[in-house]
Structure formats: structure tokens, C-alpha cells
Amino acid sequence: MKNTILITIDALRADMVDLYKDRGLTPFIDSLSQKMTIYKDAHSTGPYTQASFQGILASQYYLEYGKEKKLNKDKILISEILKKAGIYTAAFHSNAYLSYYFGYNRGWDVFYDSMADEVTDMYPFVRGDGINAKVEEFLKNFSFSSPLFLWVHYMDVHEPYIAEKDYLKKIAPDLSVIKDEMFTLFKDTLLKRDVSDSDKVDTLKKLYMAKVAETDGYIKDLFDILSSHNLTESSDIIITSDHGDEFLEHGGLSHDGKMYSELINVPLLIYSKDIEKKEIDTPVSLIDIPPTIAAFMETEPAPSFKGDSLWPIDLISPRTLYGEAMGKLGHKEKDSDRPIYYMIDEGIKVIYREDGSTWEAYKRDDDPADRNNIPSGISGGKKDKLNKFINRNQIKRRRYGR
């Protein structure tokens, strides 16, 4: 049996990856493309970590049982079923929302969440080189006597966007910002969602792009480490992201409770030495990742999984995609926040925001950036269909006290 490696990059928009829009930011990932299946239209199940990783690791929706503080025990992580099947499971990441405290430690033989390590205000997570060092150390001591499922997550693209000079220079040769100024931009502009000065927002976007380029380098280093253990040869490698980031596309910054494409469209790539380059245009969801991994590892998917395997690719049929999150605006969640939902069905994206009961619709083909709301798109039973999703599980939710 082959190994499976899941690489996730926090807050990486699809259109920052060269295979989706060529900006020259990810030359290394690009160099793998001849051996990749490229899902051109992949969607996250939500616009921020708590909502999207439910899809990526548990094949679940965030509000399945109502709003939860920690991962609900009835949501089975892919690591849990693989471990039970005798596969060795190892995780290396630095995202607090995915830490032991929030319940993401379930099912891992090795679970490094970095929470015991010291971090700084400018880099409030273990950076890519630190994560790679952990992976390298782990692999050095790993016996390879059972198949391996390895998950590696990078936080580097996530704000506060403290960019390295060399990368920034390539993206914006004339821009001169020192790290203290970058941190001030994070504190005073980004965190406050102050969009009054478009120059500052533009600078933030360039810093973000520099972080994307930096992270491409960490992926390259990781592939070097993997390849020294023959793992690039013997593994299916999935590369994706949990959500994007906004730079004024819909009037805001960062990743709040919105469902537009700059937050929901993510890269999804599968690399294997056994395949040839292929692009898939069918819309797919990150909720399909756990069943896909289960298929790769010849393991039965958990009954709780909501998605369908993306493998083999010939069997991908058009499907309806959903996502849900709390519709918070600004980083901090408030008790008064109400949910927001989206559905992609037959080329139409429908968004429903419970607060204010607003409906929007966008045509995926003509308007992939979700710019022109077409109220007519909501007819034809679409509202009913999304409502059915929204109102599922009422009994279970009451049980969990929503």
C-alpha cells in the first residue's frame, strides 16, 4: 500500500497558486504539475479554519450539530479510522484551532501542535522551517513497518504577513517596508478592518504574496525531506488550503464570515509519480478529502463522512456543494453572530446570510469572482434546496443544545 501525505497551507487563495493564476509565486508547486491532478474548481466548506478543517479532516460541516466549541465526538477524523486500520498517523502543525485543546489530536500516533513551544508576536506560530525540522526528525526515527498517513500544515501565509525582504523585493521591487511597519499594518489596518487607505491594503496584499512565495520554498524543502525517505515515490500527496484571504474584493480584509470565492476557492492538487497531468473542471469540495484519503489507503470511510471520494477521477460526477460558518465580521466571534451558508448547484452559487435573511446568487461560469448578484438565480427550487441543507439535523442539534 502507498503512503498518503496531506499538505495544507493556511489561508492560501487558489488564485495565488501559479497553476490557477500565473503570478510566478509558486514555482516549486508548478514544477510538480506534470505528475498532478489539478482540481481547478475546489471549494472549502467554510471561510476560516474552524469551519473548513471540519471538511478537510472529518468530512463534516461546521454546524452539523450546531455551533460547537470543540470538535464534536461524533465527527470522526480521518486519522481515527486510519489508525484503527493499522496505518501509522502523524501530524505536524501550528494552528491553535487544530490543537489538542480543540480535539484535533484524536487518532494520531504522533501529534505535534506546537502549543508547548514559545512563539513571538510577529510570528505567532512555528514557521515552515520549524515544521519541516519536526517532520525530518520524525522520519529519521520512523521504522516504515506500516503504511504512513502524514499531515503537514503551514501557517506562514496566514497574517500577520511579516514578509522576508528577498521575497518581497521580487514581488514589489519599489516597496520598502521594515518588519515593524508590517506588524503595525497588521495591528492597525488588518485587525481593525480599516479599509480607508487603499495603499495600505495594497501593501498588505503584496506582503501576503511574499509569504506565498516563501511558503512555496518550504514545500520544496519538505519534498526534499520526503524524497530522501523515498516518500515522493511511494506516496499520494495532496496539497490544499483551508480558505483564502480577502483584500477588498467584497469590502473587507482577512477571512471573516463570508462565502465569496476569494475565501472559498482553494487550490487542490494531487501528486503521484504514477499519474500524468490532468485538469478537472468539475466543482469539488474539501469535504471530499477524507473519503479520498480512505480510498487511497484502502480503508472504509467512516459512516459519519459527508463527502465522496475524488478517486478514481473518472468517477467524479457533478454534485451539489455546501458550506457553512458563523457570519462574523471581524476576527472576534460574538454571541449575536448568526450562520451563513452557501450552495453551489448546477453552475449557480447561492449564499444565504441568516442575519438579515439575505439571499444572493452568482453565475459560476460568467462570474467566478462572485461580483454580480443575480437575484433571478435563486429561483427554480434553489432556495428550497439550500433551506433543506440548513434545516437538516434539527433533532440532533437540539440534543447538543443549539
Binding site: A96, Y97, S99, Y100, Y101, F102, N105, V110, F111, Y112, M115, A116, V119, T120, D121, P124, F125, H158, E159, P160, F186, L190, L191, H331, K332
Partner: protein, 275 residues
């Protein structure tokens, strides 16, 4: 009660620990050694093992130290008093009185950094690089944990000229511990150089309870009420109402009853602006 096969297993684990303890005594004099004794199950077993070796070999029992973080359980305090007396152990009670005074002894009260002595101020500004004017008095918060535990521990080493400490750390506590050695050198510009001796690394939580019960080792009554892991009084949470040793130790998490994991995750989220 355990069967004979299991009892033999436990005896082997005890022997392994005693070997580590004897090795420690061959490297250090008793007056240069001390035992960390929090009153929890792991450090109590460690203390019991050190005492057993001393009794068997006619070695002088090293002193023990315990830290009062200003938020400790009554039950732990009386347990420690009772058994240090019964076992004839010199138990040193350590605390950061400066911080407790500055908080007026009140949990959650704001402590002004400027009210603290120079050592505590230096730790906050230089080591933790905290720039705020004040912080809440909580034993298991980031600053609280450092001042009430780490600083107190380091001061104890200095004041008593301790070269090595026995500690009740276990491999199965968390993945980060998996690489720990029985003897570990510690020390940096803030921490006096010392050796940490960890004789019960190979005990699992289940082993601890089986050993405690089989060999009639005392334990704090809080475990009987359902606590699995004891930290500060106001932040330790009962995992269940049945005694710790009757809980599903293998499939549930020991430290979920403590708030440290939460504090650490929250601190990260604060830094990212989420809180």
C-alpha cells in the same frame, strides 16, 4: 486487585525506577539532590520510590520541595503535610510571595508589573518580553505559570544549591515527552544548571494506579472524587465522578481536566487577533 503476572510487571517497573534512583545517588550526594513533590500521584510515587531506595540502602533521604502557586487545593496541602511528617521528609514549601502580595492574594486580580520586585520585573520584561502594565493573577496563565512555578523552581535550586532534582514525568503524558531521558541536563541564563532525574518515565497512567493500589502507596483523596490530573485548584476539572483509577484511562485524555492546554491555545489565538 491485579493478578500475579501483572504484579510481576509492576515490580519490574519499580526495579527499573530504583536502578535510575541508585544511579543518581552514585552521581550526586543526598544534600545536592531534591525531590519535586506536588502531592499528585506521579510525584508521590516518585517520592515513595526515592524513600524506598534510601530505606533499603541506608542512604540519607534528600529534601523535597513543593510549590504553592497561591491557588492550591486544601486536600493536597493536608496530604503533603500528613505524609511528609509520617515519612520523616524535610519538605520545603516554596512560593512567589511577591506576586501573591501584589495581587492581594486574590485570584484573577490585576497585578501591576511596577509593584513587583526587580527579579519578577526582569523575568516579565526580559525573559517573557511582555510589555503590558499589568496581568491577571492566575497560576496557569502564561505569565502566572512562569512567575509562580518556573521562577520559584529556579530560586529553590539557587538557594539550596541543588544539583539534581527527581521529577515524576512520564512518557505517556503527552507526545512531546516521548523523547525524554531518565537524566536530562537543564540550564540557561535564567535557569541554574541542574540535572533532572525522571525515574518513572516508563510508567503509564494505568501503571501508576495499579502500583499505587497494589503496594498501598498513599494518594490524595481528590482522585477518588474523579480528578485525573491535579493542577491549580480553580482550573483543575473533574473528568468524571468515579475514581480516577476506574475511569477509561486508555481511551480518554488525562490532562483534558487542566486548563493549561486551553491557555496555550488561547494565547496563540490572542496573538493572531482572534480573541
Amino acid at each position: 486487585m491485579v493478578d500475579n503476572k501483572r504484579k510481576k510487571e509492576l515490580e519490574d517497573k519499580i526495579e527499573k525506577s530504583k536502578k535510575v534512583i541508585r544511579e543518581a545517588f552514585s552521581k550526586f550526594d543526598p544534600q545536592d539532590l531534591a525531590v519535586t513533590w506536588t502531592g499528585g500521584k506521579d510525584s508521590t510515587l516518585t517520592t515513595w520510590l526515592v524513600k524506598s531506595v534510601c530505606d533499603e540502602d541506608g542512604t540519607k533521604m534528600p529534601k523535597a520541595m513543593t510549590i504553592d502557586e497561591g491557588d492550591s487545593f486544601e486536600e493536597i496541602q493536608s496530604f503533603l503535610k500528613k505524609y511528609s511528617k509520617e515519612w520523616g521528609i524535610d519538605l520545603v514549601w516554596c512560593k512567589n510571595a511577591d506576586v501573591i502580595d501584589a495581587a492581594g492574594g486574590e485570584l484573577g486580580a490585576d497585578v501591576k508589573v511596577e509593584d513587583l520586585n526587580s527579579q519578577n520585573q526582569k523575568e516579565i520584561r526580559e525573559r517573557l518580553q511582555y510589555t503590558g502594565d499589568k496581568f491577571p493573577f492566575e497560576a496557569e496563565s502564561w505569565i502566572g505559570n512562569h512567575l509562580m512555578k518556573t521562577v520559584v523552581f529556579n530560586n529553590f535550586l539557587k538557594e539550596h544549591n541543588i544539583k539534581a532534582m527527581f521529577m515524576g514525568i512520564r512518557w505517556d503524558e503527552q507526545p512531546a515527552r516521548k523523547k525524554d531521558d531518565y537524566f536530562a541536563e537543564k540550564g540557561d541564563s535564567y535557569t541554574p544548571t541542574h540535572t533532572r532525574i525522571q525515574p518513572i518515565l516508563h510508567f503509564t497512567e494505568r501503571d501508576i494506579w495499579d502500583t499505587t493500589k497494589t503496594f498501598d502507596i498513599p494518594y490524595c483523596p481528590l482522585y477518588e472524587q474523579g480528578y485525573r490530573s491535579l493542577g491549580a485548584a480553580t482550573t483543575s476539572v473533574k473528568m468524571s465522578d468515579i475514581p480516577a483509577w476506574e475511569q477509561d484511562l486508555e481511551n480518554t485524555v488525562e490532562r483534558a481536566g487542566r486548563r493549561q492546554d486551553k491557555e496555550k491555545a488561547m494565547d496563540r489565538l490572542r496573538k493572531l487577533g482572534y480573541m
